[in-house]
Symmetry: C2
């Protein structure tokens, strides 16, 4: 059977990674998405089980105790974590599963899981990133500057990723990400079984 794959995706705020992931998942419904467990309250527009499972602090601490999380962290008093089982299951079943994390999370997960591939979503330019972040009318200048600084730090880590997808035109970026997933299915390390199958019948 085909080997599965954990696909790490990162990109700064304003890179459009959420929209790209949503469109890729709808075009490749066989690809799974790793849903994080978090203890912070649900925000407007968020849906339970879409990107996050909203759980209680007690539940989360039980998951930690029972070693059910691949990794977790605590950010301003709230827990964020990645349940281990859906990822193990997907890889075991020869499926792809996408995980969205920041550049620090990506570095950790590369160490924890064998044979990941990673994709960095890049804004077309710093000017365009500023324009996108500024167009969210609710954010103060200070918040925008903080996001810009954080984006620049993340972009400097893009070199550690296997692939870079520039989100200038959304449809092109989605096509590019899908190309990466499809080409990855053709890698010899995922197709070794085919060689054996063919040679078995010699």
């Amino acid at each position: 059977m085909n080997k599965g794959r954990l696909i790490i995706i990162s990109g700064p705020s304003g890179s459009g990674k959420d929209t790209i992931i949503k469109k890729v998942l709808s075009r490749l419904p066989e690809v799974k998405f790793s849903i994080s467990s978090i203890t912070r309250p649900m925000r407007e527009g968020e849906v339970e089980g879409e990107k996050y499972n909203f759980v209680s602090r007690e539940y989360f601490e039980d998951m930690i105790k029972n070693n059910l999380l691949l990794e977790y962290n605590n950010y301003i008093g709230n827990y964020y974590g990645t349940p281990r089982k859906p990822i193990d299951d997907a890889i075991e079943n020869g499926e792809e599963i996408i995980i969205e994390v920041d550049t620090n999370g990506a570095a950790n997960i590369r160490k924890l899981v064998d044979g990941t591939i990673s994709v960095f979503i890049m804004p077309p330019s710093i000017e365009e990133l500023r324009r996108r972040l500024s167009s969210r009318a609710t954010d103060s200048d200070e918040v925008i500057e903080k996001r810009m600084r954080s984006a620049i730090e993340e972009i400097a880590c893009a070199k550690d990723y296997d692939y870079i997808v520039v989100n200038d035109d959304l449809d092109t970026a989605v096509d590019d990400f899908i190309d990466v997933i499809k080409a990855d299915r053709l890698k010899t390390e995922r197709k070794n079984y085919l060689i054996d199958e063919v040679l078995e019948k010699c």
Copy 2:
């Protein structure tokens, strides 16, 4: 600028690699093809400058002397060689160039050129390969058996390639090969300049 890439393609007789390459080149006209220089006589159906340049023994030996060949060999008294300049030029200009070689040639070229990618074209099964080779009515049973043995030897080397494309349905195989080329263009090693461009303007 984007870095170029030498794309090595191999596959046994009957894998359909010639047809796949022709279709890929017509769908991606920006991709170059490495034309071999050979000294054997032209066969029926062959066109000068398509897959081969037909040259004299003297001309070929001059190329050897002047170090104009990346690699060459002599097979049953005829020379076969890969001119170095088109490959260097393509890589220098950020272009892709495809080279079709057998598994031995692929192993040599991987050592000679940095950062190649390699694709092995696989028949869907040994039975189907035998059927394809047998359908060439002009070949004797002995020739077919020789081709089968050689094919099996080549398939055993498929593990050394980066990607495996199964040619069961021709259009799917062409799409797969194009996915490999397109995803390769997104690799960070070919896109490093983008990170610098974006960060330069911080």
